[in-house]
Amino acid sequence: MRLELQKITKQFPGVLANDRISISVDKGQVLGLLGENGAGKTTLMNILSGLYRPDSGKILIDGKERVFRDPAQAIEAGIGMVHQHFMLVPVFDVTESVVLGNEPTKGPLGSFDRAAARAQVVELSKKHGLHVDPDAKIESLPVGVRQRVEILKALYRKSDILVLDEPSAVLTPQETEELFEIIRGLAKGGTSIIFITHKLNEVIAVADKITVLRRGAVAGETTPKKATSAKLAEMMVGREVQLTVDRSRAKAARTILDVDRLRVLNDEGKLVVDDVSFEVKSGEILAVAGVQGNGQTELVEALTGLRATDSGTIVLDGVDLTNVSPRKVATAGVAHIPEDRNRDGMVKGMTVAENFILNSYHLPPFSSGGVLNRREIALAAERAVKDFDVRTPSIDTDIANLSGGNQQKVIVAREFSRGVKLVIAAQPTRGLDVGSIEYIHKRIVEQRDAGAAVLIVSTELDEVLALGDRVAVMYEGRIVGILDSKQATRERVGLLMGGIQK
């Protein structure tokens, strides 16, 4: 079937997520949808799967307009989704997982016709070369096989259009290669495929046609034959530099942070930080670039004591900080601006002042003998609010009532108000307005100039290029290159982010 999206537009409060996006995929074709984080891929997919409805624009299937009110209608129209986070019940077996929602039944009670279901699953998996044991429990299967189950789910529903969202994110290179085989086979059988990714070599390897999204709009269309990695990278990350930070050159001195051969596992036990070594000197900013989900989150968690390391060492100014508590990390002189401020960085329901002392409440002058010193807290909080230009009615206001920019300023104020040797800032400006972004950048550079070592982790290429004295790029858990700011061009960094090394 031919699927066409015409001028799809979707506005969220403050963000134009999809701006007149038009894409199309023909029967048996593989469309590679390439884009950075926040380029609008996920929103587009949610529109396609019936979770969101577009503000304007049309969805055409074989030339006929379709409107999806819920996922069931999208499924009925022949669109099958393979979500990045698998929608599989861990305690079900493969057969049950595949047929859930469209189960064959028999008898008056609606008995689940297991034999029939199993036969269909076996037949489908044979037909498409998707090898799975129909009786295996999902929780006992490796992720690569779980993904096959997800694909079988879509095929079982007679999907003619298969959408795969970052399907290789959870796979090993070998599993990815197998996935490509499957995709090629399905396309040959007439299934239309939309393959969403940020990995350049993947689209080149598997797509028939490539559409690149940037900042919610289509940045270009091409084919693997015509495209080069360099060109794709440029389309994906753009050319213009928007952010500039007024700053002098770094005067890098002694090493503050020394990370050696660090390995970290994620919650599922997968190796996501793989043999990473780097150092950050006092008076310099090392910016870590990379698309979300390439191990940066776990790297920061390991550095700040929130996640145990598997092996390797973390040394701060001669002190071993490997696998110590977050409190030890903080008292050793590390300021941590967390990636998800709503989750980790602040406590909604508490006041600005209370959030200001979130990780120093136990230290003098904020408390002594287990009793909080309210006057000192108020004084320090008032001072911080003034120093960091936090717009709040008072320090006793619930932080939940502040704007995102002001919330982040409270966090920055808290972290920079302690003796700081190392700043770890993860996505420090995500979701903020321009004014706040500039302000926070300025304060970070100030910290560097005052002699702190600064580690910034950001998926925003502009931010990385504007701030980094050196730029490290993470890809699939490894640091694939560390560039000096002069060498760090958009193109080179973009290529590295997409997994192409020269």
Binding site: P71, L88, V91, G101, L109, F112
Partner: protein, 443 residues
């Protein structure tokens, strides 16, 4: 977001869920952490069983030759009594053997050993052994003992099915107690007014469904924490039933004079000596309960409805993304749970006590929760748990009736203590529906 995280604490798995300090998931011998824990628990069970075996052995040798006297009614309840005597030591010897076999098999088969079933065999023996020991020569009528066991197990067992259906759909159902109470009251009133025996249970069931619907609306539409919502029902039920009882049923006895649902004698079968009176002259509730247990076990594990129900309780987004209407499914499950719990409640007022009494659910709804957990959210196992709890309770009343000095509170606490041990995961992990208690937002 913050409200959600606050909820997640409430849910219970604060420290264990994805604790950040898990070093490695896979141990040197290639077993996952979970499998290792399972193995450890299997060892703990093996140890517990061997301790029981040794204790039973000591008991057997200590009282070898002491007579345990039991009696049955041969022809009908209250009819000719036939008693028999058994060497109590023999019972304990049998127990020693059973526990020894369990310990050995548990040790060598590890987590694969079906220990719940084995306990099902050992528990009655243990109860009889203890009884015989405590009775110390007094004759105990087992027909009465078994009937009492069943009277306890019927409301608890059916209430447990109600809990299972709700929780399998993802709704944490701590309100079984309240629904039992309301069902008992309404059943009695409807039966009294209409004078038609079978309308009582039906009325009670419907009242339970209505209460359950209110609970579902609070939890699913208004997203009230399901525990708070359940608490509302439990308190409210005590209030409503007490007021109606004192204002209407007490002064106007005609509203609390129901047609009792008496035991029925199944023709021919009930004439079989000994087992006839025990198995085939029982309250119709018992046969219905058995049918419900089998029916719902089949429905939950063998039908399309059950598959969707379980997926909704485990990972509702998995069901939602393939087009299952999770919210509607949960509403329906709550209605069914309400029907069941209300029906179970009617046994309390119609099953032979001659009407409703205040607070007559007497914590049976909470014991039903215990049976749900002990039975691992499986109706058959849960009913087995209800029977075991019932034996403990009727053993207490049997002993009291015979004047044996043994505090009934110890036996009365058995279900609660056992549940805490099970929830603590000491002897075996029970895995409930993963998403029970969490609200679900449909796209």
């Amino acid at each position: 977001m913050s409200a959600k995280s606050a909820k997640s604490i409430r849910k219970g798995n604060v420290t264990t869920s994805k604790a950040s300090n898990k070093r490695t998931q896979v141990a040197p011998d290639g077993l996952s952490v979970e499998a290792q824990k399972g193995k450890a628990r299997a060892r703990v069970r093996a140890f517990v069983f061997s301790v029981f075996a040794v204790l039973s052995g000591v008991m057997a040798s200590g009282i070898w030759g002491v007579d345990g006297k039991f009696s049955f009614w041969v022809d009908k309840v209250g009819g000719t009594e036939v008693s028999f005597t058994i060497n109590v030591g023999l019972i304990w010897l049998a127990l020693t053997l059973v526990f020894a076999v369990m310990a050995v098999r548990q040790f060598f088969n590890g987590a694969a050993f079906r220990w719940r079933r084995a306990i099902g065999l050992a528990a009655p023996l243990l109860v009889f052994g203890l009884l015989a020991r405590l009775l110390d020569g007094t004759t105990a009528n087992l027909t009465v003992f078994l009937t009492n066991t069943l009277s306890f197990a019927i409301p608890v067992g059916i209430g447990a099915i109600a809990g299972i259906v709700a929780e399998r759909s993802g709704f944490l159902n701590i309100a079984v107690e309240g629904k039992l109470l309301v069902g008992a009251l309404v059943g009695s009133v409807v039966s009294s007014i209409t004078g038609v025996a079978f309308l009582g249970p039906i009325g009670g069931a419907i009242s339970g469904a209505l209460i359950s619907l209110f609970l579902a609306i609070l939890g699913l539409r208004y997203k009230v924490d399901q525990i708070i919502a359940g608490t509302v029902i439990n308190i409210g039920a005590v209030g409503i039933t007490s007021v109606i009882f004192q204002r209407i049923l007490q002064p106007y006895r005609e509203f609390n004079n129901p047609v009792n649902i008496d035991p029925i004698r199944i023709p021919l079968l009930s004439d079989i000596p000994v087992i006839g009176p025990i198995l085939f002259s029982l309250s119709p509730y018992f046969y219905i309960a058995l049918a419900l247990v089998l029916f719902f076990t089949y429905m939950i594990f063998k039908t399309r409805w059950g598959l969707r129900l379980r997926s909704s309780g485990e990972l509702p987004s998995a069901a939602g993304t393939v087009g299952v209407d999770v919210i509607k499914l949960r509403y329906r499950a709550m209605l069914i749970a309400g029907l069941l719990a209300g029906f179970a409640g009617t046994f309390i007022s119609l099953g032979g006590t001659g009407g409703f009494a205040e607070n007559s659910s007497a914590g049976k709804g909470f014991i039903a929760l215990a049976a749900v957990i002990f039975g691992a959210w499986n109706p058959i196992y849960a009913f087995g748990a209800a029977l075991t709890f019932g034996m403990a309770s009727s053993a207490a009343s049997l002993l009291a009736g015979l004047g044996v000095k043994f505090p009934p509170q110890i036996l009365g606490s058995v279900p609660y203590v056992v549940t805490i041990i099970v929830v603590a995961g000491l002897i075996g992990r029970v895995r409930g529906p993963a998403s029970a208690g969490q609200p679900y937002d449909q796209g």
